[in-house]
């Protein structure tokens, strides 16, 4: 599975929505990208991609594309 596909799968699970509902262009505003989502993503980035991210950079993202950049 590509990094992008895995990322979308993770985000769908964190946001509790269907995989078809998310794409790299999906915007992450503070209503859905809250503190619980941020720590969940930090954990997944660590276990799935071996990346230790800071909460500041994960909070600051505007779209799923930004998250892909963080784990590259």
């Amino acid at each position: 599975m590509s990094k992008e596909a895995k990322l979308l799968e993770i985000i769908a699970e964190i946001l509790e929505c269907e995989l078809e509902e998310v794409s790299l262009e999906t915007e992450l505003n503070e209503d859905i990208w809250d503190s619980l989502s941020v720590v969940s993503f930090m954990a997944e980035a660590d276990s799935e991609f071996g990346k230790t991210l800071s909460p500041t950079e994960v909070v600051a993202v505007k779209s799923i594309k930004d998250l892909l950049d963080l784990i590259q």
Binding site: E16, S40, M42, A43, S47, T52, P55
Partner: protein, 332 residues
């Protein structure tokens, strides 16, 4: 790694308040979807909360009375009492002194408080073992918190998480027993979990609640992710044990999501990681002994206990608890 020989953990007791809050009942305050999401993540379904007339020392006292009775210890045989808490009864004097008198211990008792939370139980065991190593025969380690008193009820990052509890651990000199420790601190992160904002209302009728607790969950998570697996994995390597050799790893009950992740990183199965957080919440310094007393851990000759958080501070201990009396949890 620090090794202290000829020290035995003889008994542990834990006490919680009778009053119990079901987190699902907070849907009205925070919204149903939000509450369900938080519960799913942190894992806390119910929590026991102290009344306005109860203080941390009440729960520790109750636990202390039970371990002393269970072991048949004469009060004058106890050489030291250490009270570990971030929610002591008073700003001063030390709650340890209040408890020394209340428990009828000798005036020769060494009694003092230690201000640590999540890592506090491990530090308390280290201090107790060190005192025994210096010549004290028996030590009473009383560890507990009533964090509910310093939680801002509108802060969703803390108000569904914390429960109250007070514990007692009896340690004594015993040839052949050994405790191994690893301990550390990083005060550069002191602001990530802190109580500095003056409370608007203090409803406590006994004791004090001076400032609201605030927590930066993301920063705490980042610290934990970096520090705890590294600490535990090097500790086990130094001990010469594999994660599969450990009967149970008792983590500080920070939140369920975090514990699942930490377990995976240190190679523990869910069966090796007992959780008390679902029923009791994050009980701060008391969470490790409360988990030991509440979770019916059958095999206990190879136990790791790991505390981490506020300070920032961390520590782990390796112990044989196969002969330790773990008394049932009592509500008062």
């Amino acid at each position: 790694m620090l090794n202290i020989s000829d020290v035995d953990i003889a008994a542990i007791a834990s006490t919680v308040p009778t009053a119990k809050i079901n987190n699902f009942s907070l849907a009205e305050h925070f919204g149903e979807v939000e509450v369900k999401k938080i519960i799913k993540n942190i894992g806390v379904e119910t929590r026991h909360i102290a009344s306005v007339t109860q203080t941390t020392s009440d729960f520790c006292y109750e636990s202390a009375v039970r371990v002393i009775k269970d072991l048949g210890w004469e009060p004058e045989s106890i050489g030291a009492l250490i009270f570990v808490s971030q929610t002591p009864d008073y700003q001063l004097p030390a709650t340890a002194c209040v408890l020394q008198a209340k428990l009828g211990l000798s005036k020769n008792t060494i009694a003092f408080d230690v201000n640590l939370g999540c890592s506090g139980y491990v530090y308390g065991l280290y201090l107790s073992a060190s005192l025994i190593n210096s010549g004290v025969d028996r030590v009473l380690l009383l560890v507990g918190d009533t964090i509910s008193k310093i939680v801002n009820k509108d802060d969703r990052s803390t108000s569904l998480l914390f429960g109250d509890a007070g514990t007692a651990t009896a340690l004594q000199k015993k040839t052949g027993k050994k405790l191994s420790f690893t301990l550390g601190s990083d005060g550069t992160g002191f602001e990530h979990i802190i109580a500095k904002d003056k409370s608007i209302q203090d409803s406590a009728e006994r004791g004090m609640s001076s400032a609201y607790l605030t927590m930066d969950g993301g920063e705490v998570f980042q610290f934990t992710l970096a520090a705890v697996p590294e600490m535990l994995n090097s500790f086990m390597a130094e001990l010469g044990v594999a994660s599969t050799d450990i009967n149970a790893c008792i983590y500080h009950q920070a939140n369920r999501f975090m514990l699942k992740h930490l377990s995976k990183k240190s190679g523990f199965t869910s069966e090796q990681v007992p959780l008390s957080i679902v029923e009791y919440g994050n009980t701060s310094s008391a969470s490790i002994p409360l988990t030991l007393c509440s979770q019916n851990i059958v095999n206990r000759d190879s136990i790791v206990m790991a505390g981490f958080g506020v300070g920032l501070s961390w520590g782990a201990v390796y112990a044989d608890l196969s002969e330790t009396a773990l008394l049932s949890v009592v509500e008062v």
